[in-house]
Subunit: 400 residues, 2 copies
């Protein structure tokens, strides 16, 4: 069956045949021309042509029906845009938030078919999450007439690091009841699908890389400022997970060992200085009403000096923390995510100034193209769930 | 000519033909069996056999004459060990130290042919360095009857970050007169060879990865404690250089923004707390004689309490700095290099305890195979120059 053939081509990352390499590349990139495929795989053009002909005959690859054309490098005429056949493969991304579960269904041509969010009582268990997800998946597939056997996998974004070796949640900062959960055991049997998983920030970085502010960037740092601080490091197009899944936990870099106690048990973590939690809580106490991060940013924009100063202070602390990462990694691009990134220039300005002051390689010391750029992410709200879809398309974080 | 054929196969990293992939892999690894080649390239075994037959016919690949055999995975009988033909390719590594220039000549089967070190007046210029290197190279090639046309390149280890975009030295900490030097322009014409370059610590990490404490480790952090502090990050088998060449500069991560002024112009850099410079200077003042790092370690071993306490203090500071890197990268392996790493357990013990106290992912929280391991490097004296040879073999840091 064609669905099985696609799955088998996608499933084995060690499969070095041209068919498998082209199919995996299209799964990651969505739409490409034959010329781009040759360049990105390093395969000879003749091999690419021959392999694509076979894949098109068997309906695994089709011409993109977006009606869009892409330009082949240096060819000077519109080349045919190719994509995996959306009919033969779908994937699911799920985000387990504090009080909501979001589910996106997309096909292998990178088109979103369904995007739903439902509220759920806080402190829900993994078993409840699995049952709700199962129901949402079934409903979405039925509503859109999708074949369950075309489902390549379910990507799961979790609020805590996941050990890539055993697939267990290390510490579930957002949803503490999940610590120690074996994600594959909890979701695999219920969802009857291969499970891919990573923490929210890594998923968000993948979304920015695939469709957002980091398209085309093979190396960047994603830095998230929300009620907590998190992040991800992308090197040569892959998120660095770390031996235990703990990479990118920028919020817990200790910047003052004699500082206040952090919820992680250490002292003086960056999150205590750079997250929006305290500033939001203080604003809510002062105004006697819910404010949230968006409210804090709105207040600052409307001229509330207290809110503005607090955002600047967070930006300066974040810049100091990022400068340490910068001295270790010297990234070409920093993508700021999380709700506070919606503050835009009010955040970016003091953050990049603070970074410049505290990092080793100064802007003036290098040519413009060797300087670190700072941008805000494209998906501040939807990033982790889209990235969970990306886990499946990029075969990242497969459990078991 | 066979030398030209080897060069052309090695030179184009985008060449995806089986011949080029196998030749590049052998250049990186030295000696491999056909089974290992198939596994590591992802090529079909039949393709590997056919390609190897062609490469052996043209004398580019030969059976290793070490007399050693390696075992093919799961085959149960000794497989033939293959290597690039040492007669057709040689490479040079040069280390520009404070008061000495070291030069190693090796062949493409990873055998060291010549290793020399000569003293030179401090603050020598790049032009002087190039002239001395030229002389040393010519002497070594003549003495060992090597053909200059077989030289694949010269790898240069420099005491300062090198911008991979323009090949210029960013800041030359060890040899300040080198800042801004265009390494290719300074060495290429004089040495009449392709030039590969990176900073000392990145070279040292490459040496540990190719032949030392990190063989087989695709992901690790190299942390060097010497009179300065430096390091390197290796991800999926490649050193991360950073956009301007500044990655791995762990010594200049700011751990106390109100701390003392550092030679880099920032305040409170890790190097001020974790390098051996102050401790050595203090010991030399106290004893009224040259001590050096080896002397400091010897004193501590002989029971000198002051020296021991200072090594422990450096270890604790290094552990704190490494903990920040650990929270960002969660590496599976940390290789300690530099002269102070010769202190062994006296350094490793307090360093790994301090790391454990300050990092996010605690040992008790993860399975043994997901814990960060700490080891000392194999080459504490020779690492950067060997790594400079490795630059050429691995085609890392090619300038121009």
């Amino acid at each position: 069956m064609i669905e099985d053939r696609l799955k088998s081509l996608l499933d084995d990352p060690a499969d070095g045949t041209p068919s498998a390499r082209i199919v995996r590349l299209l799964s990651e990139r969505g739409t490409l021309s034959a010329t781009e495929i040759a360049r990105l795989t390093g395969l000879a053009k003749s091999t690419v042509s021959m392999t694509l002909a076979g894949l098109r005959r068997s309906d695994i690859v089709i011409e993109s029906d977006h009606g869009e054309t892409v330009r082949g490098a240096g060819v000077g005429r519109p080349a045919t845009a190719l994509t995996l056949n959306p009919k033969v493969g779908t994937c699911v991304g799920v985000l387990f938030g504090l009080e909501a579960i979001q589910l996106i269904v997309a096909d292998v041509s990178h088109r979103v078919i369904s995007d739903r969010k439902i509220q759920i009582e806080p402190d829900y268990s993994p078993a409840e999450a699995a049952a709700v997800t199962r129901r949402l998946v079934d409903e979405a597939y039925e509503e859109h007439g999708l074949a369950p056997e075309g489902r390549l996998g379910v990507g799961v974004a979790v609020a805590g690091p996941i050990n890539p070796i055993d697939g267990k949640v290390l510490r579930a900062s957002g949803v503490p009841t999940w610590a120690g959960t074996d994600i594959r055991a909890a979701f695999g049997p219920v969802l009857k699908s291969p499970i891919f998983a990573d923490n929210e920030s890594n998923c968000a970085a993948i979304a920015e890389m695939m469709w957002g502010a980091a398209i085309g960037a093979e190396d960047f740092v994603f830095f998230k400022i929300d009620l907590g601080v998190g992040g991800a490091i992308v090197n040569r197009g892959r998120v660095i997970t770390g031996i235990a899944g703990g990479a990118g936990e920028f919020g817990h870099m200790i910047i003052d060992p004699s500082g206040p106690l952090c919820r992680c048990g250490n002292r003086g973590c960056l999150e205590l200085y750079a997250s929006a939690r305290d500033a939001v809580a203080q604003a809510e106490r002062r105004l006697g009403r819910p404010v949230g991060i968006d409210g804090l940013v709105a207040l600052a924009r409307e001229g509330d000096e207290d809110s503005r100063r607090k955002i600047v202070a967070m930006a300066e602390a974040a810049g100091k923390g990022l400068a340490i990462i910068g001295t270790a990694l010297n990234p070409g691009l920093v993508v700021l995510g999380g709700q506070l990134s919606r503050a835009g220039e009010m955040l970016l300005g003091p953050l990049s100034e603070s970074y410049e002051r505290h990092t080793l390689v100064k802007r003036a010391g290098v040519a413009p193209e060797a300087r670190t750029r700072f941008v805000t992410g494209v998906f501040t709200d939807n990033d982790a769930c889209l990235g969970a879809v990306g886990l499946v398309l990029r075969h990242h974080g497969r459990l078991g």
